[in-house]
Amino acid sequence: MNPSDPSHVSASAAKLQQIPLKQISRNPDNPRILFRQQEMDELLDSIQRWGVQVPIAVYKKGRGYVLIDGERRWRCCMKLNLEAIPALVQEEPDRLTNILLMFNIHGLREQWDLLTIALKLREIIALIEEETGQTPTEGELSDKAGLKRGVIRRCRLLLALPSRYHEMILKELSKPKSQQVLTEDFFIEMERALTTVERAMPEVIPNRDAVRRVLISKFRDKIIDNRVHFRKIAKIARARNVEGNVSSATQALERLFERNDYSIEQAFEDSVSGAYHERDMLTRINSLIDRLRGIDPRSLDDELLEALRELERVAERLTGGGPR
């Protein structure tokens, strides 16, 4: 049995009890560090109406108990001045198992904020390294923490950010979701785009942090009005792949990474838009040709036949084989 495998802490052996709230303390390793007021208010309302419908999970420590799962429910019950809360009492896990248990419980339910997962993931990696002497692979981490590989990759992008950006994200996350602007997704999209640019055109980014500052400022000023537009930066950087004009792509990115009102969409339009459009059309035509080759002429109905004749006329006109 692997001690860091959370499955060795058997939930079936846990006992359901009503535990006085004052005997419970929060788990210092809980990755959830943000408790948004709106969500807490909704839970308060629900508990007041219906009570705690799902027991929390705790382990015994000395005379009290420590939370494994259910800090929001525990906080709400405290706020509502209730005496006790239903809890499943489990055996005390070691620290790594403790964190992994919390990850696995939440992996099956609603997700924590990604940055809070990322920050705790760093500790998990350190604890596994301490225990096994080896850095866990992405697959091993995924197995133990119950996280998808994609989530782990996204966490790593966030962890690679300088810590001041972590603080910026945490501050943003504390706001109601509708008011969040510089979200984790924003930084992930931006980092992915910058990584692609650094690989394809390293000369365009002499200082990555300076470029970040410019892009954040443009996003705040709504010069960049959608974080998905960052994907177009990566497309510009890959101009060579679509036989686009590399020189104009380089110039567009250089201009984009300076303080001005030049937007991603404009940079895309000025550099590789035509090349991508052409490639897109070529892909569609090739796909259509492939499909048409597989058709038995006898199976064509009148409507399709007429459409093919129209296609022939247009193609002849474009290729010079017919009237222009």
Binding site: L34, R36, Q37, D41, Q48, M78, K79, N81
Partner: protein
């Protein structure tokens, strides 16, 4: 003790309010996230007792006036607890429609509002003592125009934290009206013997006692001028004259304060009802 339940981003605001309560509202000890009573399902962010046994509670929030909080306010009101509840918020947390809704809901329940702007705390709306807040509101349209302002003042004084004075304002109106009634009786020849001016201006209780004594012989004459009049009204008013001069001692414990506030609520409501009945019964006299 530090905050456990309050979100991190609100702690600075809470600390400012805590200092405000201590320095400017005279609370010696401000507790953090403590229960105010076992029967109340809420632990306010800050709470403290005043020297006259009232409890001041402040809920620091960015979420406004929520259902769960409202439930706690109703519990305090129903239990008659001498609590003044405030919602405190940082001015950059709450704006526009959100603020308006919070303000309206809070005011409706007697909850006050504290705004924190930079380092300054301001009471935007003063809280009503919840032990008094459940008092039945005066039915102003039923009052003659000339009495409405006086009764509005009485209610405001009552809810504003001085219930004995609020009651006194109502008794004063009732006393004035009943003296006018006796004076009118002199002019109409209801009384035998007629009241001397000295008696009419004398102690209210003594005067009403005399009116009660004369009621058997005077009732038929009064009824002629005032068909809706009922003799039991005079007996009731005489009963209230005892309460008129009871300024009440300052309660020495919270339990005594709760009892006093409960009695004053009943007294206020009863006095208003009697005044309205008396006003209606004597309306034909144009007093």
């Amino acid at each position: 003790m530090s905050y456990v339940l309050l979100p991190d981003q609100l702690r600075e605001t809470a600390d400012r309010v805590k200092a405000f309560l201590q320095k400017e509202q005279g609370l010696r000890k401000v507790q953090i996230e403590a229960a105010i009573d076992d029967s109340i399902n809420w632990r306010p962010t800050l709470s403290g007792a005043t020297s006259d046994h009232h409890i001041v509670c402040v809920e620091v929030t960015s979420g406004g006036y929520t259902n769960a909080f409202d439930h706690a306010v109703i519990q305090c009101t129903t239990a008659g607890l001498p609590v003044r509840f405030y919602i405190a918020y940082s001015d950059d947390e709450m704006t526009g429609e959100h603020f308006r809704k919070t303000f309206d809901n809070a005011r409706m329940r007697g909850v006050g509002i504290i705004e924190v702007k930079g380092k300054t705390c301001t009471i935007v709306h003063r809280a009503v003592e919840l032990s008094l807040a459940s008092v039945r509101r005066v039915d102003r349209p039923r009052l003659k125009q000339k009495y409405r302002q006086a009764f509005s003042d009485a209610e405001e004084t009552f809810l504003g934290g001085d219930p004995p004075k609020g009651c006194l304002r109502v008794f004063e109106e009732l006393e004035t009206l009943s003296r006018k009634f006796v004076q009118k009786g002199n002019a109409e020849g209801w009384w035998n013997p007629a009241f001397k001016q000295k008696q009419i201006d004398g102690p209210w209780a003594t005067l009403m006692m005399e009116v009660v004594k004369q009621m058997d012989s005077s009732l038929s004459k009064i009824k002629k001028d005032c068909p809706k009049f009922d003799a039991s009204l005079i007996t009731t008013i005489h009963g209230l004259t005892k309460q008129r001069n009871e300024s009440g001692h300052k309660p020495k414990t919270r339990a005594a304060l709760i009892k006093r506030d409960r009695e004053l609520r009943t007294r206020f409501e009863h006095a208003v009802d009697v005044f309205m009945d008396f006003q209606d019964a004597t309306s034909s006299l144009r007093l």
